[in-house]
């Protein structure tokens, strides 16, 4: 019989939240071997939890574009990486994303911190223009994406990974919330 993971939805003050434990469970379920990342406001809450995971390799980079080339090398060597960066870094990564993840047709899960999403969703003026350009740019590159706002959405991470394998292209899981402590 297939075993289905049950996602327990964490809440804070009655509001559903996104917790590192559920995200890491999803990464493990996907068989991720390495996390290639540069910290951002939307994923910094995962830093300590990821560091504690002995089964995951952890490769920090100095600029986001490096992450896609590192992931390409890992994949050619038989590993299963995930790239974890912010949408601002995604913009900076344009040419290497084109040349590696898209050019090599990598079945790559990208987890992208979606700076400004919640403000934009609420109809407020975002901090800057990062949110405005995120989805149009992903659409222009033909990269499918999924929104991750609470623990209830985390099964979409495994779904995005599966989709990447099926279409042999990168697929983005957009981490929509910023950690507030």
């Amino acid at each position: 019989m297939p075993v289905h993971a049950v996602t327990v939805i964490a809440r804070r003050g009655g509001m559903a939240v996104l917790t590192p434990k559920t995200i890491i469970e999803q990464l493990k379920q996907c068989g991720i071997t390495h996390v290639v990342w540069l910290p951002d406001s939307e994923s910094k809450f995962m830093y300590d939890a990821l560091q504690a995971e002995k089964d995951l390799g952890f490769i920090p980079v100095c600029r986001e574009g490096e992450a896609f080339a590192v992931a390409s090398g890992l994949w050619m060597g038989g590993k299963t990486p995930v790239v974890l960066i912010q949408n601002t870094g995604l913009f900076e990564s344009g040419d290497v994303l084109r040349g590696t993840a898209l050019g090599l047709e990598l079945p790559l899960l990208m987890m992208i911190g979606y700076r400004g999403y919640m403000e934009m969703k609420a109809g407020k003026q975002p901090f800057d223009t990062a949110a405005v350009y995120t989805e149009p740019i992903l659409n222009a590159w033909g990269i499918p994406f999924h929104h991750i706002e609470t623990d209830a959405d985390t099964p979409k991470i495994a779904a995005a990974f599966k989709q990447a394998q099926e279409i042999s292209r990168p697929v983005a899981a957009l981490i929509c919330v910023e950690y507030n402590g």
Binding site: I59, V61, R63, G77, T100, G103
Partner: protein, 189 residues
């Protein structure tokens, strides 16, 4: 030293190492090597070959990875020197072929020509072993020892243009990447 001379010395001493090339080196290396362990990265995004080598070195710790980068390419992504030194893969050797020009665009000088020192930058980034070669006989003599070092290793090699037309033939990168993965893992992606 000319690039063709350097590549012949590298081909002479190379055995079962993975070799990654880019730009003008990727157009000339196939004249000296047709190994299944070669990946000639044409069109993968200038400046990012060392990062690709870092990923391969981490994935394949029992196999040496030689990255043949250009000086113009290195300038595009100097931060990766710190990323590599931080990850500290013992099996990665990063060569920078120094011709001090952007050869494929017509020979314009690179910024910092005659001033910038890549080996010093690599040392400052935390590479435990750094070298500079401007003499072919010295390279030929020292290379076996360098290939045996615990890395990461960095080496600048003077490599003036070979003065011959460069080949533009290359396996498309999608197929090249899958071929290398198949060679390294036995898995058909």
């Amino acid at each position: 030293m000319r690039r063709d001379e350097v590549l012949q010395v590298l081909a002479k001493h190379r055995s079962q190492e993975i070799v990654l090339t880019t730009m003008s080196v990727s157009q000339e290396w196939p004249a000296y090597s047709q190994s299944e362990l070669d990946f000639n990265a044409v069109g993968t995004g200038m400046g990012h070959l060392p990062d690709m080598g870092l990923g391969l070195a981490v994935a394949c710790p029992d196999r040496k990875v030689l990255v043949l980068n250009g000086d113009g390419s290195m300038l595009m992504n100097l931060g990766v020197l710190v990323s590599i030194a931080n990850a500290a893969p013992r099996n990665l050797i990063l060569f920078v072929f120094e011709n001090e020009i952007y050869e494929v665009t017509g020979g314009q000088p690179i910024p910092g020509r005659g001033r910038a020192n890549f080996a010093a930058m690599a040392k400052g980034a935390g590479f435990p072993h750094t070298f500079e070669f401007r003499d072919l006989l010295a390279l030929d003599k020292e290379l076996p020892g360098i290939l045996g070092l615990d890395g990461p290793v960095f080496a600048t090699v003077e490599a003036a243009s070979s003065g011959r037309p460069l080949s533009t033939k290359a396996l498309p990168i999608r197929e090249a990447a899958r071929a290398l993965r198949r060679t390294l893992t036995g898995v058909h992606p």
